[in-house]
Symmetry: C2
Subunit: 299 residues, 2 copies
Amino acid sequence: MERLGFIGLGIMGKPMALNLLRAGFPLTVHSRSADPVAELEGAGAAAADSPAAVAGASDIVVTMLPDTPDVEQVLLGDSGVAEGARDGALVIDMSTIDPEATRRFASKLGEQGVAMLDAPVSGGEAGAIEGSLAIMVGGPEGSFERALPVLQTVGKSVVHVGPSGAGQVTKACNQLIAGATVEAVAEALVLAARAGVDPAKVREALLGGFAGSRILEVHGRRMLAGDFAPGFKARLHRKDARIVLETARRLGVPVPSFEAVADALDRLVESGGGELDHSALVTLLERESGTSLRSPGRS
Amino acid sequence: MERLGFIGLGIMGKPMALNLLRAGFPLTVHSRSADPVAELEGAGAAAADSPAAVAGASDIVVTMLPDTPDVEQVLLGDSGVAEGARDGALVIDMSTIDPEATRRFASKLGEQGVAMLDAPVSGGEAGAIEGSLAIMVGGPEGSFERALPVLQTVGKSVVHVGPSGAGQVTKACNQLIAGATVEAVAEALVLAARAGVDPAKVREALLGGFAGSRILEVHGRRMLAGDFAPGFKARLHRKDARIVLETARRLGVPVPSFEAVADALDRLVESGGGELDHSALVTLLERESGTSLRSPGRS
C-alpha cells in the first residue's frame, strides 16, 4: 500500500483523510489549524510540520485547500511539496482552483519528476464524510490508474475526463450549472409567491416534470424553509464563479446567463451572506420584490 | 360519463383527444385544420364547425391552443365557446398562456355560469401521446374534482396548485427553470469544448453529481449530437419566455438570469432557429466562441 500524505484538514479534507486512514493507508498529515491535526493523530496518522515534510514521508500527496494561491504556496512555496517530494511521487490536488494555474503547477512539478492530477470533487461535506464524492480527474492515464485506490476510497463516481486541467474545467462546468439552477429555482419560487401561488405546491408540481432536478428538490426545500445553514457556502460558490468567468473570458466563450448568477453571488456575499448556503440567493429576490416564500403575496 | 368537447387538434391536442376518445368519453371536436378533424372523426368523434357548436354539444370543453389571443378568440370571440355553452358547463384550458389573461377569461365565463380551469401541461408531444403529461391546475376545487377523470386520462401527475391563474403561473415557473437549465448546460458544454475537454465526458461526470438533471441528460445528449429536431420548438419557448418576463415585470420580481435566457431565445428565433428544438440555444454559443461540440478546441 502506498504511503499517503494529506495537506489541508478543513471541512472537506478532515473527513476525507479519516476515510483514507480507516481504509488502511499509512498517512502523514499537515494543516494550518492544530485541532484537526490532533484528531487525525489520535486516529493513527503521523503529523508533519510542513508540506515538504509530508512529501518526504509519502509516495502520494493529496491536497485539499481553499483557493489557487493556497495550492501554489503549498506545492511550490517555501517548505512546499516540491522541496520534499522524491522522483516518482504523485500529487493529487482535490481543491477547486483555476484550470490554467493547475496546468502550470503540474508542469513545474513535472520538471522534477513529480506527477500531478487535478481531482476536484462535488458532493459537499456530507459526501466527504460518507466517502460518496463525485470526482472529476485530469492528468496522465498512468497517474490516474495509480490514484484510483485512493480516489475510490473517498468518492463514489470517479471519472477521468482528460489531460491536466480537465478536472478543473469540469468542476467549473459543474459550478456553472449548479449556480444557474439554484438561481433559476429561486427566481421561479419568488415569482410564484409574488403571484400569490403557494411556492411549495409549485415545487411539488414541477418536481415530476421536465424542470425537475436534485437542486429543485434540495435547495427548493431549503428556500421554502428559509434554512440557509450550509451546505455549500455562498462565498465559496462566488470564488468558483470567478474561476468560471475568468476561464470563459480567457477562452472567449459567452456565458450570459451565468454572468447574472455570478453578479447575484457577489451581491449576496457583499451584503453579508457569504457564510450562508448558496440557496440564500433567494433572499436577494425576496428583498427586491418585497415578498417572502413564507408568506406569499405582497408583503 | 360527461360529454366532452375538444378544440385545437395540433401536435399536442390531437393525441390528447385520441386518448380521451379511447378512454370512452363521447367527444365532439373542432380545429382550424381539416386533416386532424377527419382523423378524429375516423376514430369515432363527432365534428362541429365552430367552438360555439362544440360547447352546445358538450358538458366539458377542453382547449389546447397556441397562444393567449387564440384562447381569447375561441372562448369569447364570434361563435366562441361562450356563445354556445350552457349554464353549468366547464372549460378546461390546457394551453400555455398569460396568467392575468386567464383570470380575465375565467371571470367573463363565470358571469354566465360557466366554470373554467387553467391546466397547462409539461411533457411535450411524447407525453401527450403516452398520456403521461404533468398537469398544473388552477381554479375552484369543485371544478378540479369534476375535471379529474379527464385530466388523469391525459396526464400522469395532476396537481391542483391554487385558484384561477395558478396553473399558468406554475407553468411559467416551469418554463423559467427549464429554459435556464438548457442555457446553463449549453454554456457549460461549450466552455468545456473550447477548453479542449471532451464535452461528452463532462456530461457523464456531471450527471452523477449535484449539477445532474433530466435536462443535462436529454438536452445534453441532443447538443452533443447536434440533433435539434423538436422536441420543444424554440419559438414556443420564446413565447413562454415572454409570458415569464411580462408576469415578472407586472409583479416587480427580478429574474436576472432568465432575462439572459429570454434574450438568447430571441436571438435564436431571429436568426432562423425558431422551428428547432430549444436545445439549439447551444448553436449561438458555438458560433460566438468559434468552437463546436463535435470537434472540441479552437475551430
